[in-house]
């Protein structure tokens, strides 16, 4: 079962110089999408420790979404679910990609650790399926509250 940390979470751990702790918690199950890897690369300008994730490879190769219908779907999820706009095509793309690949069979049952504004207030399971509405009972069963998690983990 995979776990997808958002770039915000990576930054949180990098900021307190405890990426090793996150790596240990993920225990080889961590994954990231191409855009989350790109975002982490950009954040590494300010938090150099982030660069080590790619070089050490503990989130494995970034997952790319390349089929054009899938790219369009991700773009729509980015806008509709996360409030992105066409003027800023990169904004919320990492979240939308993660939301999308979590639905792939290969990643069924996986976890996503992300910012509260992206995760804990919507049902990821429904976001990639058009014409379907989720019920409140389908709210995120597999989302770890990121800030609390990071804080708790760092305290140990």
């Amino acid at each position: 079962m995979s776990t997808f940390p958002d770039n915000t979470v990576l930054c949180n751990f990098a900021a307190v110089d405890r990426l090793d702790l996150l790596q240990a918690v993920l225990n080889g199950r961590g994954r990231w999408t191409a855009t989350v890897a790109y975002e982490a690369g950009r954040s590494a300008r300010f938090l150099p420790a982030l660069a080590s994730i790619a070089t050490e490879g503990w989130l494995e190769e970034p997952i790319e979404i390349a089929a054009e219908p899938d790219v369009q779907r991700v773009n729509r999820v980015r806008r509709a679910v996360f409030g992105g706009t066409d003027d800023e095509p990169l904004k919320h793309l990492g979240e939308a990609e993660t939301c999308f690949v979590k639905e792939w069979t290969a990643f069924a049952g996986s976890w996503w650790i992300g910012p509260v504004s992206s995760t804990t207030d919507h049902a990821v399971s429904s976001a990639t399926e058009p014409q379907q509405k989720s019920s409140p009972t389908s709210w995120p069963a597999r989302l770890l509250p990121p800030v609390e998690t990071a804080t708790t983990l760092v305290r140990q």
Binding site: I65, E68, V71, N75, R79, G83, E88, P89, H122, K133
Partner: protein, 399 residues
């Protein structure tokens, strides 16, 4: 003058965006008809003036990966296309499909207040389409009426009568807030924007979107007439695309058949014949009666005077006398200045589209989206909205 861009229009009228990296212009022949994403990217590279190597660097690819993608040996990823779209100020959807909606074309090619209105209409239309995709479609409810017979003005009048009947069936008071009435009865979204002067409103219509954008105004009767006019366009099925009305009272515009129909619709909808006949009665109208009627209907004295004259309820001389009143003067004559001030206050206030706000919140409420689309729509920081919603409020401890 009205401007109409219709569905299927692919002519790109210019490229007003001036980015520092991709300051190039596009035309339909060179780009929009190209068959594949690779072709479009190749053309963007060419027109950017950058070498392929430099372009690859800008989008974070090495030469080999870009060459393979351009040659069909590798597909562009979601990230690649977003970075290309960001660099070249195009959309990801356009890169994949080559299709550009009329609103997007208009947004790129129109400046001033109209351009601002179009860009907002484009943003709101995209949100509505996305909401429809999530199961929250535009609740569009036009009256069922056959408009194939009769002249343009007659069609507008008949359409208005059918619309008024729909209002009555829904049990809505006609003189209630017209923006709310249009949303509640017909299911069109209405946004009011602070656009400065020189632009009255627009209507945009696609299969998924029925949207009216109005400018804030200190002349409530003008804003109200614009809304009725744009509603007329939507209900008549005019212009599958976007319809701009920079000056809804422009005389040259009024000669256009669809404008004639929309104006006739607005006049009949806001000033129903039976209402006017009842007001005139057998005794006719004094200036004070006329002023009170303008206040009742929230229309300009000028518009009301012409409508009364058109129905032969007043003569030309009376029309000339009445039309010299302004809305403010009419309110003063009728002793309704306070009410008039309230209308000015309301029409001066920006407003997000109510139905779209309702649906973005509902989508969040059932867990289909984050809170961001709703927060973006109402123009409030998402964290502020979340904090406000999460805090129990309304209890007042008087102890």
């Amino acid at each position: 003058m009205p401007t109409t861009l219709t569905r299927g229009s692919t002519r790109l009228l210019g490229f007003a965006i001036v980015p520092d990296l991709c300051d190039f212009r596009k035309d339909a022949g060179s780009i929009a008809s190209m068959p594949s994403t690779s072709d479009r990217v190749r053309n963007l590279i060419k027109e950017s003036g950058l070498t392929q190597h430099d372009f690859a660097l800008r989008i974070g690819l090495d030469d080999s990966k870009l060459s393979k993608a351009l040659g069909g040996g590798r597909r562009f990823s979601s990230l690649d296309l977003a970075r290309i779209a960001d660099l070249c100020e195009v959309t990801v959807d356009w890169l994949i499909t080559g299709a550009e909606p009329p609103l997007a074309i208009a947004a790129r090619t129109t400046g001033g207040s109209a351009g601002t209105a179009i860009r907002e209409a484009e943003r709101l239309s995209t949100m509505r389409s996305d909401m429809a995709d999530l199961g929250f479609p535009q609740p569009w409810r036009p009256p069922e009426i056959n408009l194939r017979s009769g002249g343009w003005a007659d069609q507008g009048g008949r359409l208005a009568k059918a619309a008024l009947e729909q209002v009555r069936r829904r049990g809505v008071v006609e003189q209630a807030n017209l923006v709310e009435l249009v949303e509640a009865v017909f299911g069109a979204d209405v946004a009011v924007l602070d656009l400065g002067s020189g632009f009255d409103g627009l209507a945009t219509s696609t299969d998924e979107v029925k949207l009216i954008v109005l400018a804030t105004s200190q002349v409530p009767a003008r804003q109200r007439f614009t809304l009725a006019h744009e509603l007329g366009h939507l209900l008549a099925g005019d212009d599958q695309g976007v319809h701009l009305d920079e000056d809804v009272f422009d005389t040259a515009q009024a000669k256009n058949p669809s404008e004639m129909r929309a104006n006739s619709f607005a006049a009949t909808f806001l000033m129903p014949e039976e209402t006017l006949r009842a007001a005139v009665g057998s005794a006719g109208l004094t200036e004070r009666d006329f002023a009170a009627l303008a206040c009742d209907l929230i229309v300009t004295p000028l518009t009301l005077a012409f409508r009364l004259k058109g129905l032969r309820l007043i003569d030309a001389g009376t029309c000339d006398r009445f039309r010299s009143l302004t809305g403010r003067m009419a309110a003063s004559v009728a002793g309704r200045a306070a009410e008039f001030a309230q209308h000015v206050t309301e029409s001066s206030r920006p407003r997000p589209p109510g139905l779209l706000a309702r649906d973005t919140y509902a989508a969040h409420d059932v867990g289909a989206t984050t809170l961001r689309p709703y927060a973006n729509l109402i123009g409030v920081d998402v964290d502020d909205v979340r904090r406000a919603l999460d805090v129990e409020s309304g209890a007042f401890d008087a102890s």
